[in-house]
Amino acid sequence: MTEPLLKVEGLKKYFPVRTGLLGRHTGNVKAVDDISFFVNEGETLGIVGESGCGKSTTGRMLMRLLEPTEGKVTFNGKELTNISNDEMRKARREIQMVFQDPYASLNPRHTVEKILMEPLIVHNIGDPKSRKKKVHDFLEIVGLSSYHAKRYPHQFSGGQRQRIGIARALMTNPKLIIADEPVSALDVSIQAQVLNLMQDLQKELKLTYIFIAHDLGVVRHISDRVGVMYLGKMVELATSEYLYAEPLHPYTKALLSAVPVPDPEFKREQIILEGDIPSPSNPPTGCTFHTRCPFKMDICVKEIPQLQEVKTSHFVACHLYNEQVQH
């Protein structure tokens, strides 16, 4: 098998909790706690989970917008976690990010042309004339027109702004795009336009996506494989077909059954979880889901379940499947 484009091993992010006048270090918020996965070239890996599960923190750590506490990120054969900031900046040419809020992520005082040209200047690509041409080309590619270049972000609708955000990410010809909730601020009809655009671009430019979202329908639509996160841990990882048809982890099952389906005739058994997500500053012992799990066993309170391959390419971190582990 070929080497994956991105490999993540044992990634952790602990935010220290400081209390009192002296700011003594009294604990940690375990935002991301020991997760590992890989992304193959040309595929889309979806990461889903509810608020506070660490999915955005993961995305930011991959680009080192946040320094990981521990763990290793390897991109294209090169380790990103031990290089200098300067080298990292160069590496970001190949990894770009699209953010959730198209209103907040574009500078309101710059024209679209300036916004899109900036990455080219930072990475020292081309001369002024070719940069300008590239800006105009990419505006067309994302479905806008070159006359939009002279306008300011406030003159665009939400969907158009997200197109600009995507164009900016594409300017440096990256291999990997990390999209953090790229369509959650958009209306349904606009969301469909942006999702289709992202799929078209992937085919045309041979992009690899990490697609972070909380909407399970959207993630299923765009992803080849999906990872489900809960309280800083990856609890299940499988191809999207298997994950949605045959979820194994009790949390994934509950999550899928909770999603409202736009079909009034569709009947199913809903698993409604009791209670709220525990605080990541004081996560439950053992399996972090045991406080809400309908299948809790004694072992769940004591031992942290590891992500194991239970079926071909179907990984799950749950003690219920300990006997089925494939070696």
Binding site: D187, A192, N196, G217, E241, A258, V259, P260, P264, D276
Partner: protein
């Protein structure tokens, strides 16, 4: 269907905002009604006027710049638009209650939950004793599924999670036994698993207390699971109205069709999503013709010239689209022939 009384009837309602750019009708001559104990969904994308509709019913449209410029809102036969502020205050929270999207911002951070619940009761039930009011507050907190209601009375909003806060809001809304509850995007700020809890609670309460609900949302999944009837709004107009099953199984308006087709369905993978081209027009920019004409794939000459009326295509199923005009004419012809 069953013989249920209409409790709210919105007739020809127009709510406009007087801005520097002129008068903008955010809700433009809409009609709909809610029956006793019914759950009515109002769906639409941002800017379609669904929230302004609910604020108009509650008499909460910020004025200036907003104003109800025409129409009637009949609640149990009485026109709320004619009510004075004092009379409206008696209706609000008592006969009609509302819950909002952001449970964090609609609770006062400086007062305890008990304080805020009791306030709602004492304003409307002046003759109740303190004891009775407190018992009622506790009863409501238990009813919405909150554990340890007694201690909760002394807690402040920041001590609760988002889902719990929304439960408190529901308890507060229902504390005076309103006949109608307006829920404006009640689960949008919540996670899926918490959303499922709250929707289940709302369904149960609707059955148990027989409170009619207007559920305003942009999420078609939520509508399919919770509502009996649906009103679809686009750019300030009602474009389609019908029961949940007719709207989802037999949508007629091109906008409704497009909207349903553009939702990614978790149950199966489509190769490509349908998407409606273009974007929602700015309010006030289209004054002539159908407001969806510029994005519609079935557009023809008449669409840009005339304003389509609501055609009733079958019993209780109405569509604002000229494509259904002929049927209407045919039905009329048949009626003439019969008589």
């Amino acid at each position: 269907m069953e013989e249920r009384q209409t409790i709210l009837e919105v007739k020809d309602l127009q709510t406009s905002f007087f801005t520097d750019d002129g008068v903008i009708p955010s809700v433009d001559h809409i009609d709909f009604h809610v029956r006793e104990g019914e759950v009515l969904g109002i769906v639409g994308e941002s800017g379609c006027g669904k929230s302004v509709t609910s604020l108009s019913i509650m008499g909460l449209v910020p004025s200036p710049p907003g104003k109800i410029t025409s129409g009637q809102i009949l609640f149990e036969g009485k026109d709320l638009t004619k009510f004075s502020e004092k009379e409206m205050r008696r209706v609000r929270g008592n006969d009609i209650a509302m819950i909002f999207q952001e449970p964090m911002t609609s609770l006062n951070p400086l007062f305890t939950i008990g304080n805020q619940l009791l306030e709602a009761i004492t304003i409307h039930k002046k003759d109740w004793s303190k004891r009775k009011a407190k018992d009622r507050a506790l009863e409501m907190l238990t009813l919405v599924g909150l554990p340890r209601a007694k201690e909760l009375m002394n807690d402040y909003p920041h001590q609760l999670s988002g889902g719990m806060r929304q439960r408190v809001m529901i308890a507060m809304a229902l504390v005076c036994d309103p006949k109608l509850l307006i829920a404006d995007e009640p689960t949008t700020a919540l996670d899926v698993t918490i959303q499922a809890q709250i929707l289940k609670l709302m369904r149960e309460l609707n059955e148990r207390l027989n409170t009619a609900v207007i559920l305003i949302t942009h999420d078609l999944g939520v509508v399919a699971e919770t509502c009996e009837r649906v009103v679809v709004m686009y750019a300030g107009k009602v474009v389609e109205e019908g029961t949940v099953s007719t709207i989802f199984n037999n949508p007629q308006h091109p906008y409704t069709k497009g909207l349903i087709a553009s939702v990614p369905d978790m149950r199966f993978k489509k190769q490509r999503l349908y998407s409606i081209p273009g974007s929602v027009p700015k309010p006030g920019t289209i004054n002539q013709g159908c407001r969806f004409a510029a994005r519609c794939e079935f557009v023809f000459g008449r669409c840009t010239e005339e304003n389509p009326p609501l055609y009733e295509t079958s019993d209780g199923h109405k569509t604002r689209c000229f494509l259904y005009d002929e049927k209407e004419v045919l039905a009329d012809d048949r009626a003439v022939v019969k008589s």
